[in-house]
């Protein structure tokens, strides 16, 4: 680094350095991500792999890694935990782009899967998936399973995440309310009103109902063809009318509180603290329910399906198969990486159950198999804490139709627009019509911009 022995021409020093810098920049730009021509090393039994996932080590990952190390002592695994938020995901993206060692990575949500796959960082996993009964269903074109790219599978979901309603059974008993399994959205709102008006709950629920997703499925935000948004459809008005009504009658947790406390980050506390009657989420929340140390509570949690748009009607479950595992196309150890992915999906899945992860090998109609998971999924006291019959019946119902998102254009921007406008709607700044008008216009603009860039 010493500059001591260099001489400079008096005037050109600055311009010279700039030129040099420019050259350096241009030279630095030689790297192409889509290479995939990395030298292959290791084997199915040996290698060094870096795994990026969002689940923390204390939630089953450490045990999984230990078990893997015992079975494959010659594969060294470095687990890199990244927070599943903008910065965490950007870090993974930049690491992929920058050629930092990433061999196996998890993508959460369709947008992340699509972005990384389209940029060429994902290895084709079709063959691998076909070789495993656990993953084989994802290679079919079953629209309930997962999205394929060019008929190939680049990401294998590891978790079955149907959307459920968690209910406080003791609160319902105290109010003398019996919630039917085929309840409708009107009944949902009525029961919510009864519970809050009767003083049984401070608010009935943290989240409102995703009516559009229930009616339209995973691509509910897009008009057919994906070239514009669908916010002019009546179902969206219905959804936001309901959300606003619930905000105003106090059945929905007030937006003001959501914003003030960053409640989005720990909404389950209110349900588990006994303040809320319902909690709408996938099975991930099971781990909080069983965590009596951090969430001490003595009520029993029961479950119901998401309320029906129409009693007896068929509708989408807004949950999907998630936590997709991918292998970096540029990995030096593709065989070892495949071994790891296979292990995660097979032997490893039991360790993830303690974290509330129902393996993706299960699905609708498989309640019988699911019961074997209860001790891990629900903890030792599960008989007291959970209405397990209801859980089996709800989470593994035959009629569940899982959502699949296939259009990912401007998905993040639309989500931001929606959240910003929903905040304004619920704070009473704008009306539903204003909101949907703006949402439609701005989402369409975002989609157009994105498509123009594609």
């Amino acid at each position: 680094m010493s500059m001591g022995d260099r001489t400079f021409s008096r005037r050109s020093v600055l311009t010279g350095s700039l030129a040099a810098a420019g050259t350096a920049l241009v030279a630095s730009c030689g790297n192409s991500p889509s290479g995939g021509d990395a030298q292959t090393q290791g084997s199915a039994e040996s290698g060094v792999i870096n795994v990026w996932g969002a689940i923390t080590l204390d939630r089953g990952v450490q045990e999984l890694l230990d078990a893997f190390a015992a079975k494959y002592p010659d594969i060294q695994v470095n687990y890199e935990q990244f927070p599943n938020n903008t910065d965490g995901n950007l870090k993974l993206d930049t690491s992929l782009q920058g050629g930092a060692p990433v061999d196996v990575f998890f993508s959460y949500g369709a947008a992340a899967v699509a972005r990384r796959t389209e940029a060429g960082y994902a290895l084709d996993l079709t063959e691998l998936a076909q070789s495993m009964p656990e993953a084989e269903p994802f290679t079919s074109s079953d629209p309930q399973r997962t999205a394929l790219f060019d008929d190939k599978l680049f990401a294998i979901p590891t978790v079955y995440n149907p959307y459920l309603v968690y209910l406080n059974q003791d609160m319902l008993d105290a109010a003398g309310i019996d919630v039917p399994f085929d309840w409708t959205i009107e009944e949902f709102h009525e029961i919510a009103t009864e519970l809050t008006a009767g003083g049984f709950a401070e608010s009935a629920t943290y989240k409102s109902l995703p009516l559009a997703g229930m009616e339209l499925g995973g691509d509910s935000q897009f008009a057919a063809g994906g070239e514009s948004s669908s916010f002019d459809l009546p179902i969206w008005k219905q959804q936001f009318d309901l959300e606003l009504a619930m905000e105003q009658d106090g059945t929905l947790f007030p937006m003001e509180q959501v914003l003030a406390q960053r409640v989005d980050l720990y909404a389950q506390s209110y349900f588990l603290g006994g303040q809320h009657a319902f909690y709408l989420d996938n099975p991930a929340t099971l781990r909080f329910v069983k965590d009596l140390e951090n969430y001490p509570h003595d009520f029993r949690t029961t479950f119901r399906p998401m309320p029906y748009l129409e009693r007896g009607g068929q509708q989408w479950n807004t949950g999907s198969y998630e936590d997709a595992v991918q292998i970096n196309a540029n990995t030096s150890y593709p065989e070892a990486a495949k071994t790891f992915v296979q292990f995660w999906l097979q032997d490893g899945s039991e360790f993830m159950q303690t974290a509330g992860k129902v393996p993706s090998s299960l699905g609708p109609g498989q309640g019988a198999a699911a019961e074997a998971l209860f001790p891990r999924l629900l903890g030792d006291d599960y008989e007291d804490l959970f209405d397990t019959d209801a859980l089996t019946q709800v989470a593994f119902a035959d009629d569940i139709q899982m959502s699949v998102t296939t259009i990912t254009t401007a998905l993040t921007e639309i989500a931001n627009l929606r959240s910003s406008l929903t905040q304004q709607l619920r704070l009473g700044e704008i009306s539903v019509d204003d909101m949907l008008g703006r949402l439609k216009a701005e989402a369409d603009a975002a989609i157009t911009t994105e498509l123009a860039q594609g």
Binding site: A24, L25, C29, N31, G53, D87, Y266
Partner: protein, 298 residues
């Protein structure tokens, strides 16, 4: 402390005239009023720290509980145990931050003294335009640099290493400016005398001017400590693996994978992150504030 000053500021009023006494009383009244107002304001400034401490000893579920409790019924020391042990122990965040702080202090002091001396004490062609370029660089918004820096660092193999936090900070515009101002006002005669005696420029710098600059260099070092310890935005982009997290980044790990946050743990982490620099500040506060003032004055 208040009592001590009160007695000190009250001179023996033996043969005071009535007018003098009146003035004294007025003085005393003002003194008291100022004290009340400023201490009330100070309490407002202090409250966030006390609340941070209080919340860090509560159960998560009690952090938002009403009515407000300043002193938790039962101190949850386990919050601290949790963040200092376990998978995301703060220990290695502290070690990483410590490493960055030390190297940044050493590096910035050396680079900025050298450059500051040249800009303030030596004359050469292009000096002022060059200095202006340095000054102007402080208006470049960080976000504009992030991605190109990131690309460039990756090429240099510095991405996701603590060096990515150290090297770009070394030629600190603020430091160069500060030291340039100092050296420019240092007496020229000493250097010239040495020069006539045949000493070379570097010796003059090191033996004559640097010793005179020790207070300002200390001030600068303290400011570097502050900025290096608290830097959040650079590591946010440049550091990817948890093993290289510095303290502010480590604090965000209390947001777990599914997006849940522990308010109590994050407060315990916050308290822990503030303690080293606060202790340092309290011990050296005279020096610290004097240095800060000097830094600002120049």
């Amino acid at each position: 402390m208040a009592m001590a000053e009160m007695t000190l500021s009250r001179p023996a009023a033996t043969d005071a005239s009535a007018g003098f006494r009146r003035r004294r009383r007025k003085e005393r009244g003002r003194w008291l009023l100022r004290g009340v107002v400023m201490w009330a304001l100070a309490l407002l400034f202090l409250a966030p720290f006390l609340w941070m401490l209080s919340s860090s000893l509560k159960r998560d579920i009690d952090v938002f509980a009403l009515p407000i409790t300043w002193i938790p019924e039962e101190f949850q020391w386990t919050n601290y145990v949790k963040i200092w042990t376990g998978p995301h122990s703060m220990v290695h965040y502290f070690l990483n931050s410590g490493f960055v702080v030390i190297l940044r202090i050493i590096g910035e002091v050396i680079l900025c003294s050298l450059a500051g001396y040249a800009f303030g004490r030596l004359r050469f062609r292009g000096r002022n335009p060059l200095f202006l370029v340095f000054l102007a660089s402080s208006i470049v918004p960080g976000q504009l640099l992030l991605v190109p820096r990131f690309m460039f660092f990756r090429e240099l193999g510095l991405y996701d290493s603590l060096w990515a936090l150290i090297l770009p900070a070394l030629s600190s515009v603020f430091g160069i400016f500060l030291l340039r101002q100092h050296f420019a006002s240092a007496p020229a005669e000493l250097g010239e005398a040495a020069r006539i005696d045949g000493a070379n420029e570097f010796v003059i710098f090191l033996r004559i001017y640097v010793p005179m600059a020790v207070p300002i260099i200390t001030a600068f070092a303290i400011l570097v400590f502050d900025s290096a310890w608290n830097d959040y935005e650079t590591p946010l982009v440049m550091i990817s693996s948890n093993a290289n997290y510095t303290v502010p980044l480590g604090l965000t790990t209390f947001i777990s994978d599914s997006g849940t946050i522990s308010a109590a743990l994050s407060m315990a982490g916050s308290v822990s992150s503030v303690i080293p620099i606060l202790v340092f500040f309290l011990i050296f506060q005279r020096r610290f504030l004097a240095s800060m003032a000097r830094a600002g004055l120049r």
